[in-house]
Symmetry: C2
DNA sequence: CTGAAAGCGCTTACAG
DNA sequence: CTGAAAGCGCTTACAG
């Protein structure tokens, strides 16, 4: 930080009071036209840039928002972050990137830091079961919106604003698709079951299983914690078992890719020998040679909408009502489930 | 922002002056042990969190760093950002995510905003030829370090700290590898030639071409601007031409993936019919079925080291010398160039 | 319309 | 060792 020109310098140069300068620069009434013009001119000439930190201190508005995600190198979060940052920028906010790596303590630290920094609001996409931390935000009255995951505790869920995909439907549609293609032996690799999205997807899948009258052994359902590595291991074990599945539905694309590695290494062909599907629709899944069938998540849009809601709350330009948005889950049929080979069989 | 407990509240409760509270909380000498203990205890009990914005105003230290990149949804930048954020967090800094989408005006705006916010330093990975904006940073005396790209203007380059890969060597090694595998008709898809990395890679490739005595037609070298789409188009045209290349060396993996799409769509097999290589070593390239031969970029490490250098500069704990780090370019042989098929032929 | 003052939450000299 | 004051850069009442 350097000795930059301040409001005081300009006041001196313009032969005016600092209040006059402040008001001129902020388009407040109460300043004569000529004086105002002069002040603005000097400000421009000297390249004056207001100190956002001083402004934040007096206005209690930092124009800063915190973005809390698990891992920016994960394609899902990267797209989300892009939507957030683009939109924040459009509204005049800067975004502080906060990465928790799934660590609850790190997240808690970040909440403290963000509050200390006086952020105007927070976007959170890492909410898990134990998230009493959400209660802290409500207490502190700092606006926040949850993306992708929401609090499980009903009292918190009620108060939280959020925007998520219909994960239940996503879980349901995946099974339905595989069932229609003729599969009965479907394995499910779930996300981290301490999170709402993973739970909802699982519920949906189970409902679809029931609806279609499929019975699968318990061991066909494993918690993959949204990890590539973990899903790869799980799938490997499944394939080696005496009664392996003919389809695997991973509840996100990263895990589907992990499962894919296990399948390919075992010498099986996709979709000829085994079907594979994911959720999220990350870019990599669309690549030739991968062409993963999946359920679309509007990652960028969720980020963008999240900020919009947040800004509305911060600036209170909109009559207050807690917004809860659930986006449709859309099936994206590519080549890993065999639809192009033979179409639906039932 | 809410009425949180302040230093003043604590002073009142502890029956002390605000100065005493400040000094106690900051471990400054000049306070009696007992009083200090009492103050600290009250602070803890009330959950006092200092206002970082007030601190920033008086200390001229925000513990904020700006990260300027092109696109967070690009895997290269995402990994870089991860290294930056992780390391910044470790040193007690928060990072403001600034995405320019390659737009020079956006970048300029961000420089202004970051200065207004009083960031302590900036990490930039978007420097291009015209970047007189770097001069602005030097003028304002705000510490910065360039990652991946550096200023082309010698006077600026001299003053800038940076950490980059040896792009010349990367460009060289790629050609060398293809040449050893027996290729003479090698097409090169370059990055954005207004950036140092793209220029250096190209120089390296040309040098290798010369060294190995290969002569390629002008039209074999095209500027792909680091864009998947663009590279795909370029490659498509190349393949349709009367004398198509037998190898394409894209100067980043994104472009290599774009070229791959064109190749696959044209019905050719990789590496049987045509060789393909990239630079960067993004995760997607390692996936089964892709297995892109490439040159490794230490994305995370560059981000991490960049922050380390930046913090050293900010905190001046290290004797000042302008650090310029050039990392080795390491060839990563996977399956897209045919090495496993027949090894080197010359 | 205009200027001087108080204050945002903190820290740093500076007297006692 | 301790307290009162001045100041960081800005804005907002509040008198003239």
């Amino acid at each position: 930080m350097n000795k930059r020109v301040t409001i005081k310098d300009i006041a001196k140069m313009a032969n005016a009071s600092v209040a006059a300068v402040s008001m001129s620069l902020n388009n407040r009434p109460g300043i004569g036209d000529e004086k105002r013009r002069k002040i603005i001119e000097i400000a421009k000439k000297t390249g004056y840039q207001p100190s956002l930190v001083a402004k934040a201190l007096v206005n209690k508005r930092s124009y800063l928002i915190g973005l809390i995600i698990k891992d920016i190198s994960d394609h899902f979060f990267a797209e989300l972050a892009k939507g957030v940052e683009d939109t924040a920028k459009k509204y005049g906010y800067s975004t502080i990137l906060c990465t928790t790596d799934g660590n609850s303590k790190t997240q808690e630290d970040y909440f403290d830091i963000l509050c200390s920094r006086g952020v105007d609001g927070i976007i959170i996409s890492t909410v898990v079961a134990e998230d009493s931390q959400i209660a802290f935000l409500i207490d502190e009255k700092i606006p926040f919106v949850c993306i992708n995951r929401i609090p499980l505790i009903p009292s918190l869920k009620k108060k939280a604003e959020y925007i998520i995909m219909d994960n239940y439907s996503a879980g349901y549609k995946g099974i339905e698709h595989l069932w229609k293609l003729g599969h009965d032996k479907i394995a499910i690799i779930t996300g981290s079951l301490n999170a709402s999205n993973a739970r909802d997807s699982l519920k949906g899948s189970k409902a679809a299983l029931k609806k279609s009258g499929i019975k699968i052994p318990k061991r066909y359902i494993k918690e993959g914690t949204y990890s590539y590595r973990e899903a790869c291991l799980i799938c490997e074990r499944l394939l080696k078992s005496k009664n392996p599945p003919t389809a695997v539905f991973a509840h996100d694309d990263n895990m589907a890719l992990g499962a894919r590695e296990a399948i390919l290494r075992s010498g099986l062909a996709i979709p000829k020998d085994i079907a594979l599907m994911g959720i999220d629709n990350i870019k990599t899944g669309a690549l030739a040679g991968i062409e993963l069938t999946t359920i679309s998540q509007k990652k960028y849009e969720m980020g963008a909408m999240g900020v919009k809601i947040l800004v509305n709350r911060i600036e209170e330009r909109v009559p207050h009502m807690v917004e809860k948005i659930v986006l449709d889950a859309e099936l994206i049929i590519r080549n890993t489930c065999g639809y192009q080979m033979h179409g639906y069989r039932r």
